[in-house]
Symmetry: C4
Subunit: 296 residues, 4 copies
Amino acid sequence: MERLLKKCQIRNQLIRECMAECLGVYVLILFGCGSVAQVVTTEDKKGQYLSINLGFALGVTFGVFVSRGVSGAHLNPAVSLSLCVLGRHSWMKLPFYIFFQVLGAFLAAATVALQYYDAIQAYSGGDLTVTGPKATAGIFCTYPADYLSVWGGIVDQVIGTAALLLCVLALGDQRNSSIPHYLQPVLVGAVVLVIGISMGSNSGYALNPARDFGPRLFTYIAGWGADVFKAGSGWWWVPIVAPCVGALLGTLIYELMVEVHHPSEQSESQASCPENTNDKMGVELEGVEADREKPT
Amino acid sequence: MERLLKKCQIRNQLIRECMAECLGVYVLILFGCGSVAQVVTTEDKKGQYLSINLGFALGVTFGVFVSRGVSGAHLNPAVSLSLCVLGRHSWMKLPFYIFFQVLGAFLAAATVALQYYDAIQAYSGGDLTVTGPKATAGIFCTYPADYLSVWGGIVDQVIGTAALLLCVLALGDQRNSSIPHYLQPVLVGAVVLVIGISMGSNSGYALNPARDFGPRLFTYIAGWGADVFKAGSGWWWVPIVAPCVGALLGTLIYELMVEVHHPSEQSESQASCPENTNDKMGVELEGVEADREKPT
Amino acid sequence: MERLLKKCQIRNQLIRECMAECLGVYVLILFGCGSVAQVVTTEDKKGQYLSINLGFALGVTFGVFVSRGVSGAHLNPAVSLSLCVLGRHSWMKLPFYIFFQVLGAFLAAATVALQYYDAIQAYSGGDLTVTGPKATAGIFCTYPADYLSVWGGIVDQVIGTAALLLCVLALGDQRNSSIPHYLQPVLVGAVVLVIGISMGSNSGYALNPARDFGPRLFTYIAGWGADVFKAGSGWWWVPIVAPCVGALLGTLIYELMVEVHHPSEQSESQASCPENTNDKMGVELEGVEADREKPT
Amino acid sequence: MERLLKKCQIRNQLIRECMAECLGVYVLILFGCGSVAQVVTTEDKKGQYLSINLGFALGVTFGVFVSRGVSGAHLNPAVSLSLCVLGRHSWMKLPFYIFFQVLGAFLAAATVALQYYDAIQAYSGGDLTVTGPKATAGIFCTYPADYLSVWGGIVDQVIGTAALLLCVLALGDQRNSSIPHYLQPVLVGAVVLVIGISMGSNSGYALNPARDFGPRLFTYIAGWGADVFKAGSGWWWVPIVAPCVGALLGTLIYELMVEVHHPSEQSESQASCPENTNDKMGVELEGVEADREKPT
C-alpha cells in the first residue's frame, strides 16, 4: 500500500503547495460551516453561538496543521496578500494560492451540504432561502445584521481582519514571543476564537475572501440562487475587499509599533544572546536578575 | 506495596497492549457516556450539548494518555484497520485489539449504568426505553435523528470518520506538523471536540465501532432489550461499517494530498536539515529568511 | 523590599511544604467555591454548571502551580494517602499534610463568604439555609441529589476518585506519557474538568476530603448551623471516606493494568534507548519505521 | 516595503516599551470590551457571560503576546506598581507605563464604539445611558451590582487582584513551576478566565486601573456624560485604588508563603542540580526515586 502510494508522488513544489492550501481551507470550512449547520438545523438545541466560534477556531487550527509544513498555511487570500506586500511571499504564486483557497472552500461547502442534506430539507421544508425565518444560506457564507450599514460593515471587517493580522504576526515574530512552531496553529485558532467572541455579531466575521466567496458561489449554484449576491444590499463584495484592506492595516500597525523597532540581530549578538530579548518578563517576575550575572 | 505489585508483572507484549487498549477505551467511554448521562438525567440543568462534546473529547485525550506508551492508543477498530492497511500495524494483532476495545467500551457502559443507577431510575421512572420522551438508551450508544435516512447516516459517518483520520494523520506526520508526542493526545481530543461541534447532530458522531457496539451490547443485556438493535430502522450496523469506510477514505485523502509528496529523506538531507520543512510559515512570518543564511 | 522579605525565610522543609499545601488548596477552593457562589447568587445569569466545572478545574491547575515545586501539590488527603500506600510519600508527613489541606479549604471558604457577603445576603434575604429554594450552603460543600441513596453516593464518589487517580497516575507515569512537568498542572485540571462534566450531577464531585470538610466546618461555624452535618441523611462523612477508598482503587487499577508491566529500566536500556517506549504511536502514524533504522 | 519600514525604526528603549504597553492594553480591551458589546447588543443571543470571560482572558493572552518581548507585558498599573515595590522594575518608568496603559485602553474603547456604532444605536435607540434597561455604558467600564456596598466592592476588588498577582507570580517563579516563557501568556489568560468565572458577578472584575479608567474617560467624552463617574455612588475610584492594594497584598502573600523560602541558589547547587526542586511531584508519581540514584 505504502509503495503504491509512493508512485503518486508529485515533486512540483507549487502543485504541492496548492494542494495543501486547498486541503487546509477545506478542513477550515468543513468544521466551521458544519458547526453553523448543526446550530441552525437543530435550532440551537445541539449547539449555540459559542460552538460556532469554536468550530471556526478549531477549523483554523486543524486547517493549519494539515497544510503548514507544505505551504505555510495562509488559508486566506488576505494573509497571502499581506505576506506578498511584506516581501515574504512570491507575487507569482499569489493567484494560484487564491484560486486553490477558494476551491477548497467551495468543495467544503459542498461536503457540508451533502452531510446536512436531510437536516436542511427537514428544517427548511425543502425551500432553500437566503432570508426569512427558515433561511439556510447563512450556514455557508456571511450576511450582515439588519441594523448594519454598508460603511458599518466595511469598518467591522477592516477592524476584525486588522486584529487577526496583528495577533498572527505577533505570534510569528520570534524576536517578540518565540513560540514553538507546533503551538502556533493552536494559538492562531485562539485568535479566531476571540475575534468570533468579540467581533462576530455585526456581520459574521468572514475576515477571509476565500472563506466567504467559495461557499457563496456554491450556494448560488446549488439552489439558493441569485439572492446570495443580492441580500444585504449586495453585501457579497464587502467580505472580499474589506479583509484585504484590514489585513494590510493590521500588518502596518504591528510592523510600526513593534517589529521594526527590534534591535537588528548584529547589534543584539554583540550585547547578549538572542534569547534574552524574551526574558524581560521572566526576569522581572523571577527577581533573579542579580543571581544570573554571577557564574554558577 | 511497590514490591508486591512488581510480582504481578506481565512481560507478554500483546497482553500488555490489549490491556492498555481496553483501559484506554474504558476511560474514553466512562467520561463520554458519563457526560451524556449527566445531561440526560438532569434534563440539561447540569450540562448541555457542548459538555457532551467536551466529555468525549477529554475522554479521548485521557484514554490516549492512559494507553499510548504501551499500545499506541488506537482506541478505535477503524483506526487499527487503517494502520494495518497502511502497513504500520500488524494484521495478526487486529482481532485482539478489536476485541479488547469492544470489551473496554462494554465495561465502561456498565460502570456508567452503575454510577447513574439512581439517576436513571428517578429520571425514567424505572422504565428503560430506547425511544420516547424518557428514553435513556441514547446515554450509551448512538441513534439517528428522526429526519435521517439510512444513506444520509452512512454519508454522515463516512465524512465524520474521514475528517477524524485526516486530522489525526496530519498531527502524527512529523514531516508536516512536528508536534511533540505529549501534545498529540490533547490535539486528538480537540479533533473529536470539533467533530462533535460540527458533525454531531445527525447521528451522534460514533466514528468508532467499539465505542458504539460495546455499550449497545451492554444495553441489550441490561434491560433495554432488542429495541437497541431495532431502533432507527436497524441503525446499529451503520456505526460499525461506515466508520471503517470513512477511516480508509480519510487516510487515502491525506496520503494522496499531502504525505506521499513529502520529499524523501535522502533528497531532503542533501538540500537542507530536516527541520526546515516545517519552517516555511515561521520564516514567512518572521521575515528573516536572508539573515538565516548568514553565519552567526 | 526583597531584602526585607529574605529575613522571613524559613528553612524547615516540612513547614514550607505545609504552607504550600495550605496555599494550594486555598487557591483551589477560592476559585472553585467562588464560581459556585457566582452561579448561585446570580441565579445562573452570570454563569452556569459548565462555569462551575471550569472554576474547579482551573482552581486545581493554579493550586498545583502555586505549590508543586515545594510540596508536590497533593492538595487532597486521598492523593496523599495513595502516595503513602505506594511508598512514594512519607507516612510521617501525612497528618501534617491533611491538617494544612483542610485549613486551606477552611480559610478559602471564609474568603468566599467575605467576598460574596453582600451577594449572599441579597440572594437569601439574610437567611442562611442548607435546604430549600434559597439554600446557600451548597456554595461551600457538597450535598447529594434528592434521588441519591447513600450507597449510590458512595459508589459515585468511589468511581469518581478512582477515575481521578487513574488519570493523574497516567499523566505522571514518565514511561507511559512522558509529559513535561510544566504541563501536568494543566492536564490535571482537565481531568477535574471532565470528571465534573461527566460525574458531577449525583453529588457534586467532591473527590477530596479536605475540599469538602474544610468548607463544611466553616459553614457550621459561620451561621448555617448543624444542618450542614444533618442534611442528605448525614451525607457529610461520605465525601471523606469514599474518596479515600476510590483513590486506592484507582491506584490499584492503573498499577495492575499498566504501570507494573513496563519493562524494567535495565532490560530496556539493553534493547533500546529509553525514549523509544513512547514512540509507538509516533512511529505508526509516521510510517517511517524502516527509515529510522538506516543511518542518516 | 520591508526596507521602507526599517527607516521608521526607533531605538529608544523607553519609547518602544511604552508603545508595546499601549498596543498590549489596546488588544486586551479591544477583545474584552468587544465581547461585552456583542453580548449586550445581541441581548445574549450571540454570546453569554462565559463568552465575556473568554473575551477578556484571550484579550490578556494576546495582549501579552503582542508586548512581552519588548516591555514585559505588565498591561496593568497595579502589576507595574507591585514589580516596582519588589524592586524588579524601575520607579522612573512607572508614570510612563501607566500613561500609555490608560491611553491604549482609551483608544481601544473608541475602536469598540466605532465597530459597534450601528449595533449600539439600534440596541439603545440612540440614547446612550449608564443605568436603566438599555444601558450601554457597561460595555466599556465596570459598575457594581445593585446589592453591593462600597466596602463590599473594595473587598471584592482587593481579593480579586490579590488572587491575580498570587497566581501570576507563581507562574513566573522559575524555582516553583518552571514554565517555558511562551506558555505564560496562555496561563495568565487562564488566570483571568477563572477570576472572571469565580469573582465576576459583584462588580465586573476590573482588577486593573487602566482597563477601567481609560474606557470610562472615553464614555465620558463620547456621549454618556458625567453619569459614568456618578453611577454606583461614585464607583469610579474603587477599580483604581482597590486593585493597587490587592496587587500588593497578593504579592506579599505569595512572597511570604512560598517564594522567599526557596533555598538560595548557592546551597541548592551544592546539594543537587537546579531542576530537582521541580521534580518532587514527578518523582512521587513515577515512583522511580530509587532507580534515579543508580548509575544507568
